[in-house]
């Protein structure tokens, strides 16, 4: 049988962001593939060197349109570490609250896309409706639905007032019922199981070899979550469980993410219950003492890494960003080999790619 190479992307209905996939097929079987990034490369690492630390906060927020909060949280923490300052506990809790809300809406967005590719448009509509509720909370708190501008070097830009806690809790309670239904659907709906169970399995060995992180790794039984294993404050004060699964297939990746939504909702409630009173920022110098720091955090898609070097001026001498999508993309060609052509959308959607993140 003749081998045919099909180009998918950079512009294609399957992809929500530009990515070039060259997929080799023989009949209905995929035999391999290569991929190419760079269609939304913005040169953010280079740009960061010509802006000062404060100007870089909104720049870093634009690394990703979905997990913008965790990027600014990691960046600000790295700068604060070099400055030798610790932000007030209240600000740490507000940052964590926004990160968990972000994780919920990111996972819901992903679940909707997966269901759309499976052909379950009704579940897609439901998940995106539920996601809107979370975006409403984030808008109410920060003023922004996806770019929240919540963080600043030395703290956060907004405080929670006395109405915010009950408002968030009431929406989270409402969401709880919806997520329960989604969970049941994912666990028992025959179409979802038929399209995801046993599809593109990854072993623990594959995960280790390709340095894959986040829900994809946890779905293969690799028990790593940087909120627990290398926590930024206040995660060291919070009580939560890390969701893992052993099957390693597209279905396990779905279950892990749905259960992580439930963990994040409990974390939001815990944060709002434990949040201390006090200031939300400390004064931070514009110039950052010379030094280097590496900070890791758990984004919705897994470990995000920031390396920052200061030469003592008001701009970074080097800022390196490694996003979790880059590791997920590196294993995608392997996942695509030996699957059916009809499974390509489920596999591509199943790893929850963010191309803007990977391109930077």
């Amino acid at each position: 049988m003749e081998k045919i190479t099909i180009p998918i992307g950079p512009q294609h209905p399957l992809l929500k962001e530009p990515l070039s996939l060259l997929i080799d097929i023989m009949g209905e079987k995929v035999t391999g593939g290569t991929l190419r990034l760079g269609y939304v490369h913005r040169g953010i690492e280079k740009l960061a060197q010509s802006r000062n630390y404060i100007q870089n906060v909104p720049l870093i927020e634009r690394v990703c349109g979905i997990c913008s909060q965790v990027h600014t949280t990691t960046y600000c923490y790295a700068v604060e570490k070099l400055l030798g300052i610790e932000i007030p506990a209240r600000a740490q809790y507000i940052r964590a609250l926004m990160c968990e809300l972000e994780r919920i809406h990111s996972h819901l967005l992903w679940l909707g896309i997966l269901c759309k590719h499976i052909g379950l448009d009704t579940i897609f509509m439901h998940t995106w409706h539920d996601r809107e509720m979370v975006l409403d909370i984030m808008e109410e708190l920060s003023g922004g639905r996806v770019a929240h501008a919540a963080n600043k070097i030395g703290g956060v830009r907004f405080d929670l007032d006395e109405d915010h806690g009950p408002m968030v809790i009431s929406i989270i309670n409402k969401l709880q019922g919806q997520i329960g239904k989604l969970r049941d659907m994912v666990m028992h709906e025959p179409t979802i199981k038929a399209r995801t169970e046993g599809v593109a399995p990854l072993s623990q060995d594959d995960i280790r070899k390709f340095c894959v992180v986040g829900p994809v790794a946890r779905a293969s039984g690799v028990d790593v979550d940087f909120r627990r294993d290398d926590p930024l404050p206040p995660y060291d004060q919070l009580d939560f469980s890390v969701v893992t699964h052993t099957a390693g297939d597209a279905w396990a990746r779905t279950i892990v993410r749905v259960e992580e939504i439930e963990v994040s909702m409990k974390l939001c409630a815990q944060i709002l219950q434990d949040i201390p009173d006090g200031p939300i920022e400390v004064r931070a110098s514009r110039r950052v003492p010379a030094g280097q720091v590496v900070v890791r955090a758990e984004a919705p898609r897994g470990e995000v890494v920031y390396y920052l070097r200061s030469d003592g001026s008001d701009s970074p001498a080097r800022l390196k960003i490694r996003t979790p999508s880059l590791t997920a993309l590196s294993i995608l060609p392997k996942q695509l080999s030996e699957i059916q052509v009809a499974d390509i959308p489920v596999v591509v959607a199943g790893v929850d790619l963010c191309i803007a993140c990977a391109d930077r």
Partner: protein, 144 residues
Amino acid sequence: MVQDIITDIESETGNDCQKIDSILNEQVLQISGEDLRQVVEMLKQKHEFHHLSAITAQILENDSDYVELLYHFWKGFGFTLLLRLKKENPVIDSIIDHIPGSDFYEREVAEMYGVKFNFRDGIPPLLLPDDWVDGPPMLTEKKA
């Protein structure tokens, strides 16, 4: 733990390995570029360092004749291998056969800093266009 690693590296390679307290949150060891593959293999086999978080390349302002490479590992704590290459001809051995996940990291370092990697069948571009002719963007003096 780090002292054990230093001892193992020195006995494996026969070269000095220096501990550097330069990066907050991270244990840093400086090694010779030619020892990289040997050290990575030993770290994997003997100390179970499987997770390579990133490779950072950079040019230091006060030592601009060199490209500095930082291999950031993680195993419950951050651990970085630091090595320096001559900027005029930066060549280093690839570790893709030891850690396949380093593929994209190496490709990015190659196109952004002009570093050449041995032991690879070509290094296709990752982020830059196919017709890019202006050289490695991170080496340019132009401001973004």
